[in-house]
Amino acid sequence: MMFAPVIIFFIIFKYVPMYGAIIAFKKYNFTDGILHSPWVGLDNFKLLFSTPTTIQIIRNTLALSLLSIVAGFPFPILLAVLLNEVRRMWFKKIVQTLVYLPHFFSWVIVSGIVVTIFSQQNGVVSGLWESLTGRSYPFLYREGSWLAIFVGSGIWKEAGFSAIIYLAALTSIEPSLYEASSMDGASRWKQLWHVTLPGIRTTIALMFILSMGRVMEVGFDQVYMLQNSTVSDISEVISTYIYKIGLMGAQFSLTTAIGLFESLVGLILVLGANAIARKYGNGLW
């Protein structure tokens, strides 16, 4: 009945590409096609793990996403906890509206803003830096500051929206706990440490585990738009590499192998993360 088109969609656009991934074990060429290209076994994978460039991009992928996750993790919690303390609804509403907003911007917008602000010639930040130190500094062209901008822009974009999940968790804390603790003379500060944070402890643990399951995913858009040739040693990641070498350079088999490797590691990480999360009684499924 109505489900038939859905099945067809998933087969054509999800399962056919999965089947197409067999070219990772072949030496694909255009004339022979997917089916008739010669098998090469694990050669593509051997090449993958013996080339310094590919090892570097795998390392970069892990480093950038780990850094983003770890550095970005506390911010949504902080925002949610603080918002929860606010009793003036109009203030809460305004802050929420503003901090959720960047989530809906594309990376084009964010990178446009970043380039404008950090531009060496007439960006605000560079101007400020110059008036403080007397020298101009190419923020986007030094590895350290680029990394900071990369991680910072991710936090700027997503911290507010990620706070929603913690806000939801906070509403489920028993109000009587607050009443009881204030009877006992606990200050707001003490309540924060002994009631609020323990109340969302499982959510925090769960979110952390789940985000570790996504370590292999670094958004293509963010890296592609913020990177430049000066910092490519640390900024080239799997997805941008597949795009440049695979699509632009038509190295289909090799890059499919990297993609497959990425998907497999991702799958293992997600399953592992879920297994751990289940122990907290909070698995995804």
């Binding site: 859905v6 969609f9 070219i23 603080l82 503003l98 901090v99 084009v108 917008i109 010639q121 999940i165």
Partner: protein, 291 residues
Amino acid sequence: MKPSLGERIYLIGVYMVLTVAALMCLLPLVHIVSVSTSSLQAVASGRVTLFPIDASLEAYRQLIDGTPIVRAMWNSAYITVAGILFSMTFTVLAAYPLTRSYFIGRRMYTFAIVFTMLFGGGLIPTYMTIRSLELINTYWSLWLPGLVSVFNMLVLRTSIENIPSEIDEASRIDGCGEWRYLLRIVLPLSMPVLATLALFYGVGYWNSFFNVLMFINDPAKFNMAVLVQQMIQSQTMLSQLNALGSSEQLQLSPEMVNAAAVVVMVLPMLVVYPLLQKYFVKGVMIGAVKG
């Protein structure tokens, strides 16, 4: 009860941090608007911070006359509106049957669908599939690969499952058929979720970048995201070149035109966003319940 001194300091701290956070989200936008509406001299000397200096709309005139931004905007709008329709239709068609207990094999189908969220063939095989279907350079290549977001589908499924079964039974007794039940009962009851999902799909299509970059080669078919990105990219090169020679005769810097482009791109988002805000918070909550 009057708050104690420590309590007041605490609250002042809370409000201050939140104010700073909110301003950090707002001020970059204000800055971009100012850059796009100031004069070249003011921008080049770095005096523009939050308010436009020597306000002019020259950058916007240049943007509209000198770049294909208007066409790109139409393309974006077309991709977004049609994309929302296709995606919503298929998401409903996927979610509703999976909630029917008499639908044979639904556990298997659910697994097969969720599996695609966890594991995929990857970029290159997807590209090759699209290419072999000869969808390159058509907007179908943007709509079809991401037609159903599994996550959104699960959100909708959870929400349909929460409709009391008494309603179902009552309408069956009154002689209501499958399609009619879906269209007249299930969908109206799921309106808040549907609005949220439409917003998420819409934002996704409006912002879609990578797919356009991969599948669309004809510059006339570019959407705003790709066009603006290319402008920014070429500006970074331009400004490096400009640093060597002088280009004082220009009335505008490319940065200002780009800032204007960013503002134009943000604008529709700002218009739709407040209308939908009350829905998406609810929608995210439903998604948080395990599916």
